[in-house]
C-alpha cells in the first residue's frame, strides 16, 4: 500500500518529559547555531498530558539546565516541598514515623517541588511549540519503519477508522509515514516500539532484565484544615509483607488537593495479590485516612514504572534512532523519581543528534555517542550510586534490605565496591495459586475505598468504539489452559482497570474476556503475564485515559 509521508530532521515518539525536553534542547542548539531544523513529536494521548501519570515530586536539576529561567517562564512548579515524613506502617491501624536521620539520603526532598507532571508536560509543550516544534497529539506511533539496510527511518502512525473486524469504516484514514534522519523513542515505561527495538537490535544483551512496578494513583480534594501544602508523606510496610516491595505516597499539592498512590514491585510472587486492592486498603491506615476523611476523590489512574536502575539500562543507540527516558528506564528507585532523569536523557539524545548533524549525513546512522554521553552524565552517576538499593530490598526484604540501603547510602555514599544483580524477570516470579494464600481484601466502603469500575470512570478513559482490540494474545488459549489452572489467571487482579475477566458463558464454560475499552495504558499486562502472551499495541490515536492534573 502506498502511504503518504512527511519528512523531518528528527521525529520524537511521545510528548512526555523526555520527548519534550529532547525537542526543546534540539531547538535551543539549532537556534544557537542559527540552523533550521524540522522536529516533530507525536503523542498517542488525545492531548499533551492526557497519558502522563507521575507522583510527582520533581527534582528540578534537569529543568534548571534546560530553562534556567523556568520561574519567569511560568513553569507550573508552584509547591516547594516543606515537610518530608516517612512512616513504617506496622498494621492496618498503626504506623511509626521514621526519624529523619534513619531515612536513606536519596529519599530526602529539600529543594524539590510537588507538581502535576501532566501540567509540567503541557507547559513544556507550549515552550516547544513556541520554538517551532510540531506536536501532534492524538496520533499513535504504531510501527517502526526500517530502511533497506535495516536501520530505523521513522515511524508509521496508526490507521484511523478501522472496524473491530479490521474493515475500513467511513472516514477511514490510513496511517502516515513520518520519516526522520533520527528518531527518538520516548514512549515511557515499556513502550511498545521500544520493546521491539530492544529485541531487534539486541539492546538488552549483557544487562539485567528490566524490573517494574505498578503505580496506582488518586487525586483527592480534601478539607482545607487538613491540607498542609508542600507536605510529602511516604510509607513502607503494611499492607505488604516483608517480601513484597512497594510503598505509598501522599503529596499535598495546590488547591487543597492531595496526590496519593501506591507502588508495588511487579516481581511479587503471590498470584492472588491485587495491586488495586492493596492500594485501596492502604488508605484505611490512619496515617493516610486522617487526611482523606471528609474529602472527595476526583481522579484515578495507573501506570507501570521501571525500577531496574543502572543494571537494567539497555544500549541506547541503534541505526537511525535513540532511546530516551523511561522507554530505556532511568528511574532512580532510591529517590523514587524518574522525571529528572527522563528529561536529562531526552536532552542528551538531542545533544547527541545535534552534534552528529553538524558532522555528516546522520540518516540511519547509529549514534553510539549517546551511550557515552549517558555514561558521562550525572544520570549515570546517580544510578551508579544507588545501584544496590533495589536489589538489597529484593534480596533481604524491606527491613534488612532497608537497613542495608541506609548504610550504603548514608555511610558509604553508594561507594561499596560491588554490584548486585537481579536476573529473574518479573513475569517469572509467580508461585502457583495452589501454594499461595488469598489475601482477605475488605469490600469497598465507597467513602475511602472503591471498586475498580468506579475508579476507572474517574480516569476519563475512552477508546473509539468498534476498533480492533489493542491487547493481542499470541495464543488465545493460554489464559484458560495455563494461566487459569496454574495462577488463577492473575490478569484479573494485576490489571488496575478491570480489562481482564474470566466469565461464565451461557453453557457455564469459562470464557476469557478482554474489555479493551477500559485500558488505562499502564502496560502491566504486557510485563507481568507469566506466559508473556499479552502484547500491548497502540489503539486508535486519541484513545486511552484523559488525565487532567495527574
Amino acid at each position: 500500500m502506498e502511504r503518504e509521508s512527511m519528512e523531518f530532521d528528527v521525529v520524537i515518539v511521545g510528548a512526555g518529559p523526555a520527548g519534550l525536553s529532547a525537542a526543546i534542547r534540539i531547538m535551543q542548539l539549532a537556534k544557537e547555531k542559527e540552523q533550521e531544523l524540522m522536529v516533530c513529536v507525536i503523542e498517542k494521548g488525545s492531548e499533551v498530558g492526557a497519558h502522563i501519570l507521575s507522583g510527582a515530586v520533581l527534582e528540578p536539576t534537569a529543568l534548571n539546565e534546560l530553562f534556567p529561567d523556568w520561574k519567569e517562564k511560568g513553569a507550573p512548579l508552584n509547591t516547594p516541598v516543606t515537610g518530608d515524613d516517612v512512616y513504617y506502617l506496622t498494621g492496618e491501624d498503626k504506623g511509626i514515623k521514621t526519624p529523619n536521620f534513619l531515612v536513606p539520603k536519596p529519599m530526602h526532598n529539600e529543594g524539590n517541588y510537588i507538581v502535576s507532571m501532566a501540567n509540567v508536560s503541557r507547559w513544556l509543550a507550549e515552550q516547544a511549540e513556541g520554538m517551532g516544534v510540531e506536536i501532534f497529539p492524538g496520533f499513535a506511533a504504531a510501527e517502526v519503519l526500517y530502511n533497506e539496510e535495516g536501520g530505523v527511518k521513522g515511524v508509521l502512525t496508526g490507521d484511523m477508522g478501522v472496524g473491530e473486524d479490521g474493515s475500513e469504516k467511513d472516514g477511514y484514514m490510513p496511517g502516515m509515514e513520518l520519516l526522520a534522519k533520527q528518531t527518538i523513542f520516548a514512549e515511557g515505561c515499556r513502550g511498545h516500539l521500544g520493546k521491539q527495538l530492544m529485541e531487534k537490535f539486541d539492546l538488552r544483551d549483557g544487562v539485567d532484565p528490566q524490573h517494574y512496578g505498578i503505580g496506582i494513583k488518586e487525586i483527592w480534594t480534601i478539607e482545607p484544615e487538613k491540607h498542609q501544602e508542600g507536605l510529602v508523606v511516604h510509607t513502607a510496610g503494611w499492607p505488604l509483607d516483608n517480601h513484597t516491595e512497594g510503598g505509598g505516597f501522599l503529596y499535598h499539592m495546590e488547591n487543597n488537593q492531595v496526590a496519593l498512590g501506591f507502588i508495588i514491585a511487579l516481581n511479587y510472587s503471590n498470584p492472588h495479590l491485587s495491586p488495586f486492592d492493596e492500594m485501596q486498603r492502604w488508605k484505611l491506615n490512619p496515617k493516610i485516612s486522617q487526611f482523606l476523611e471528609g474529602g472527595k476523590r476526583v481522579a484515578y489512574g495507573a501506570r507501570a514504572v521501571n525500577k531496574g536502575g543502572m543494571q537494567s539500562v539497555p544500549k541506547l543507540s541503534f541505526p537511525g534512532g535513540l532511546l530516551a527516558g523511561c522507554d530505556a528506564g532511568f528511574l532512580n528507585g532510591a529517590k523514587i523519581k524518574g522525571n529528572h532523569t527522563a528529561m536529562k536523557t531526552g536532552m542528551l539524545a538531542a545533544e547527541t543528534i545535534f552534534e552528529a548533524l553538524q558532522a555528516s549525513d546522520v540518516a540511519g546512522k547509529e549514534l553510539t555517542a549517546m551511550d557515552d554521553n549517558y555514561r558521562n552524565s550525572w544520570v549515570y552517576e546517580e544510578l551508579h550510586t544507588t545501584r544496590n538499593f533495589g536489589p538489597a530490598l529484593h534480596k533481604f526484604g524491606t527491613i534488612l534490605g532497608g537497613s542495608f540501603a541506609w548504610l550504603d547510602q548514608n555511610i558509604f555514599g553508594g561507594k561499596l565496591p560491588f554490584t548486585w544483580h537481579n536476573t529473574m524477570p518479573d513475569h517469572a516470579t509467580l508461585k502457583p495459586a495452589s501454594e499461595s494464600s488469598k489475601p482477605d481484601y475488605p469490600k469497598p466502603d465507597n467513602v475511602l475505598t472503591f471498586d475498580k469500575l468506579s475508579s476507572v470512570f474517574l480516569s476519563s478513559t475512552n477508546h473509539a468504539e468498534d476498533q480492533p482490540c489493542h491487547l493481542k494474545l499470541a495464543d488465545a488459549s493460554i489464559p484458560l489452559s495455563q494461566n487459569l489452572p496454574l495462577y488463577d489467571e492473575p490478569a484479573q487482579r494485576y490489571c488496575p482497570a478491570g480489562v481482564y475477566e474470566v466469565v461464565k458463558d451461557e453453557n457455564g464454560e469459562d470464557r476469557f474476556q478482554i474489555n479493551g475499552q477500559n485500558c488505562v495504558h499502564c502496560k502491566t499486562c504486557d510485563i507481568k503475564d507469566p506466559a508473556q502472551n499479552i502484547n500491548w499495541v497502540t489503539p486508535e490515536g486519541g484513545g486511552g485515559p484523559n488525565y487532567g492534573n495527574m
Partner: protein
Amino acid sequence: MKILVGVKRVVDYNVRIQVNPDGSGVATNGVKMSMNPFDEIAVEEALRLKEAGKAEEVIAVTIGPKASQEQLRTALAMGADRAIHVETDEEIQPLTGARILKALTDKESPKIVMLGKQAIDDDNNQTAQMLAALSNWPQATFASKVEVEGDVANVTREVDAGLETLAVDLPAVISADLRLNEPRYVKLPDIMKAKRKPIETVTLADLAVEQAAAVKVLKTSAPAQREAGIKVESVDELVAALKEKGLI
C-alpha cells in the same frame, strides 16, 4: 456562497465533570477542553457542502477566551478557510452569543450559518433559534440531512414523530443534530497547514455587542448520589418490597 460555522470550547465529552466545592460552577482547571461535538458535526457539514461545490468559503467563529483558538485551529485543520475569534473572558449567554453572530453575519453576509444544536456544557439549545429571530431568517434546527439547491436548502430534521423535511430560503440558520454526519479525522499535514491560516481577533466592543444578562446562575451542584439497591430472591419478595415503600 459563504458558510459561517460556530464552534465552542467545552469540557471534553470524555471528562468526568466535577463541580467546584463552593458550588460556583464546574471545574475547568486542568481539565481537557475540546470542540463541542455538535459543532464538529456542523463544521463537517459545511466542509462537505464546500467540497460538493455548493459553497466557496467556510469561516469558523468562536466566542471565548484566548485558549479557544485551539478549537479554531481544529476547525481550520479540518478544512475551514479562515477563522474569527471573538475574544472575551466573560461567561457568554445564548442571547449574547446570538447577538455576536448577528453582528458577524451582517459583516460577512454568509448564506448559511451552521451551528451545533446545543453545546454539551450548558445544554441550552437556544443560540441558533435566537440568531434566526434576530436576523429575521428562516431556521432549520436538528438537521440530520442538508441538501442545497440554488437559493434553497432542503433540511431533514429529527422530530419526535420521525423525520420532517423543510425547504428554507437562504440565507438561513441551520443547527446540526448528532446523525447529520460523522466528522472526519484530521490529517497531520492539514494540522501544519492550519497553523498558517488566518485567525482574525475581534472584541465585543468592536462588534458593538452588549452582554445580555438574561439568566443568573444561582448555584451548581452535583446530582444526588444514588442509594445502593437491594437484591430480592423472588417476585413475591419484590412485590412486598415495593408495597413496603408505598410504590404500588
